[in-house]
Amino acid sequence: MKLSSIADKLNLEIVTGPELEEKEVEGVYIGDLLSIVMSKAQQNFLWITIQTHINIVAVATLVDLAGIIIVEGMDIEKDAVEKAREVGIPLFKSKLSAYDIACKLKEIGI
């Protein structure tokens, strides 16, 4: 499913979303320990986390993730947003918990 369509259906706040239209999501990974995400998440996966610092962008770039959803309404650090914009990693925010977002993703067929 297209990332833009997911953002729309889940009512996600788009923090930065370059190349949103083209990105195709092939799976989801949930986790907050960067080293685990780095070794387990796969290319074009959507990543759900509560981490908000700049290193999440580095991890997403390393694995070539489709985008990141930051849950629980956490405030994202400014340099993380800037870096995400620079390297083209879409960042989304939601007030929902990781579990609730995951359930919704399941409902829409991801």
Partner: protein, 237 residues
């Protein structure tokens, strides 16, 4: 004797460290700033410590063998050793426990190895920002086996710090000294910290030459050796 220190400096071996962070540049900057003792604490590697010690010997500056380990919980802890032999044995264990993920230089930066004339003699391919396989408790015990001391790094930072990641300082490890990045934030942390329990040190966590500490922070020591520094950090208040 008042000893001016900065025990948390990254060389260009750390992916985030500026490529100007060579052994000679770091030691000479420390010399200009009037520091007596420094530590090169790269992420999960000590491979630039020996050239730094060689350069520092010529300047009369002490380099304490050190490393910044990422625990399995993604907490950054500084580990210091009395001898380079103990430090290198410990660093081998840490390095070997890192997952085989290759560094992407264009994102994370280069991981450069130097000799004592600042020649680049190699690069580390494995990504040093990964976490080791050991928990903070296991690291604490390993450091002890190698006669070293563990100091939680920048406990006031919002990522990779013991307070941000674990939420508290576990009572099963006997920590005596903690590092703080911004002394102004100490007041906000009274509850989480019970800070009267700890000796507090203020390092630079420098990734650029200009960030290295001025001679503003001191330890009071009888002798200036790596062992006396380690003992000081082990001693608490």
């Amino acid at each position: 004797m008042k000893i001016a220190y900065d025990l948390h400096i990254h060389s260009a071996l750390s992916p985030c460290g500026d490529n100007d962070m060579t052994p000679n540049n770091i030691v000479n900057m420390a010399y200009l700033k009037g520091l007596n003792v420094i530590a090169i604490t790269d992420h999960n590697s000590m491979l630039n410590v020996i050239p730094a010690i060689e350069v520092a010997n010529m300047r009369g500056i002490l380099v304490v063998p050190g490393i910044e380990v990422t625990t399995r919980e993604e907490v950054h802890v500084l580990c210091y050793f009395s001898t380079i032999e103990d430090g290198m044995s410990f660093q081998d264990l840490i390095y070997d426990s890192l997952p085989n993920i290759l560094n992407k230089e264009e994102i994370f930066g280069e991981q450069l190895l130097f000799d004592n004339e600042d020649n680049i003699v190699g690069k580390i391919d494995k990504m040093l920002l990964s976490s080791s396989k050991y928990s903070i408790g296991e690291i604490f015990n390993l450091v002890k086996i190698y006669n070293g001391v563990l100091v939680p790094a920048h406990i006031d930072k919002s990522s990779f710090s013991i307070l941000s990641t674990l939420g508290f300082i576990p009572s099963n490890i006997d920590i005596k000294t903690i590092e703080i990045f911004d002394l102004n934030r100490l007041g906000d942390m009274t509850k989480a910290l019970q800070q009267e329990k700890y000796r507090i040190i203020k390092n630079s966590d420098a990734h650029y030459l200009a960030s290295i500490n001025e001679a503003d922070y001191y330890m009071d020591l009888d002798t200036l050796t790596a062992k006396s520094i380690v003992d000081y950090l082990k001693g608490g208040l």
